[in-house]
Symmetry: C2
Subunit: 318 residues, 2 copies
């Protein structure tokens, strides 16, 4: 049955609401700053008003379901955000009951990484594939697993924590999780900045345009690498090597049809990251596995978050 | 519907056939040396005769299905062993057609690690759990994933290669797969022997009863550790630490209900391995995850291989 779905993408800085067709087309969208939602007991009513407004924009008086993408770990029953440093107002607050009551339709939600995995699997770079792994590389590293059109959540909904794989026992900076050698600490945006700054401190470090510009960002290191800076280029090569280990581990454990990379760092520096990444995956993964596992970038672009929220409410395709 | 199943467990040194009830009870079993099967074009007829003989032993003239556990990578369609250094006669030979024709029932097969995962999930240490990970630690390290009573095979049936996760970028001996830092190279039986021998070569190595007894086996190192040998005990602690990283990575990616350890090394040295393993998993895994993930040993013992073969033919429990 064809139909319309309301997507609510709750982020730390902005909230986006949209009405989408079951083919993933966006009929209308509205965006507010997260701070506008933060109005004590009015938080949920504000969210409902945003949803109703965007439905009016789309000329739609009912939807088949409401999907909610959330910026942190999620409990499914009731649907709630377990930790929400960026939206403390809704931490632990059941969302499915009030939204179901307001919109009179089923409500489904998940963390944003799982939602993006499902969206790219259904409408993006994983279209037509049965086993899809989505890995987001931005400030941190996370992701989601989709099998046969459904999010593989694991026993407690915490699967897909690709960033906390330890790939370098005892090496690198301490991760926020407390361990050392985590992929996130080595290959996220922060990991890239850490590596560049650490290498600049080596007495034998080559001359680099980055020197004296600390604290650095991944964008700084990308710009310098593109301008020919040797140290910056080597930082990207080593980052790609660490990421290659993490993705090879995922291939060895899950044997997916495709790995999709998303997130600001992976999409913003795909030119620097993907060629050495592919080379290293082919080197360290068994050839029979790696040659069958494409590694591609997400294609839904600026629409990904909204499509991701709405797709959570859509029934799995047969 | 209750019924009987024929299990054929094809190993590199022995072939076992058995008739089992759908509750996993073994009604009859027969074992031959793999060499007895190796009779050129007669290989498959020999296997069929073994199956018919054990059915006669059990007083059963028909079974509901035939399950085949195979010692290597398996293609499902047709069912065949893709690489079989220990039984080259059947490498690449379709098995499901001839067996279906001989027994007039459905035939299902898989590699032995996936089969053991399913058996322990259904009748052993994973009973009643939805998400089960089985990791075998013996000469090598492998395993299988069971979700809702079914083997999670991945896109090409090669999931569960836990041993080829890289956990220590650039450290340790080169793995057979070509990479460095693989869990298998660091924590399998061979990895344990390698570590003990490497540490004995350190000039600052403590006195050890293992010195002069090279080449060592994991059993040698276990016996020495139990007798109080400090170097041997440290080898087990470091092995447990590497294994803890591998299992923590699996917990972070898959979020299983339980991890079951099997294989000669894990079962034979559980006393040395499990306490430090648990301690390190609790240390490096996020506490909210690790405290909900029991790590236990396989319980089906010497029957595991046969139950594993037969369970492949049983329909998934509802």
């Amino acid at each position: 049955m064809s139909g319309h779905y309301l997507g609510l993408d709750l982020g730390g800085t902005k909230i986006e609401a949209g009405v989408l067709t079951d083919a993933g087309a966006i009929l209308a969208r509205r965006r507010i700053a997260t701070s506008e939602l933060r109005d004590g007991p009015e938080t949920l009513p504000n969210l409902v008003r945003l949803g109703l407004a965007v439905m009016a924009d789309a000329g739609v008086d009912r939807v088949q379901g409401v999907g909610v993408a959330l910026p942190g770990p999620v409990d499914q029953n009731p649907l709630r955000l377990l930790a929400a440093p960026t939206i403390p107002e809704i931490e632990g607050v059941p969302l499915d009951g009030p939204l179901r009551e307001a919109f009179h339709v089923p409500v489904a939600g998940d963390n944003d990484a799982n939602a993006c995995a499902l969206a790219e699997s259904r409408f993006g770079a994983g279209r037509g594939q049965r086993h899809v792994v989505y890995v987001t590389v931005s400030t941190g590293i996370g992701g989601g697993i989709v099998v046969d059109g459904r999010v593989f959540r694991g026993a407690r909904g915490t699967s897909g924590e690709f960033g906390h794989q330890i790939v370098a026992h005892g090496q690198g900076p301490r991760c926020d999780c407390g361990a050392t050698g985590c992929l996130e600490a080595l290959a996220s945006g922060r990991g890239i900045a850490w590596r560049a700054e650490a290498w600049l401190r080596y007495p034998e470090a080559p001359a680099s345009a980055l020197r004296g510009r600390e604290p650095l960002t991944a964008e700084d290191v990308a710009a310098a690498a593109r301008a020919g800076d040797k140290l910056a280029q080597e930082v990207w090569t080593e980052t790609a090597r660490c990421l290659a280990i993490g993705l090879s581990n995922v291939i060895n454990v899950l044997d997916p049809d495709v790995i999709i990379l998303g997130g600001g760092v992976a999409l913003g520096a795909a030119d620097l990251l993907l060629p050495p990444l592919r080379e290293w995956v082919d080197r360290i993964c068994m050839p029979s596995l790696s040659r069958h596992t494409p590694i591609v970038t997400a294609v839904l672009g600026a629409d990904l978050g909204l499509i991701a929220a709405a797709v959570l409410a859509m029934p799995a395709a047969e």
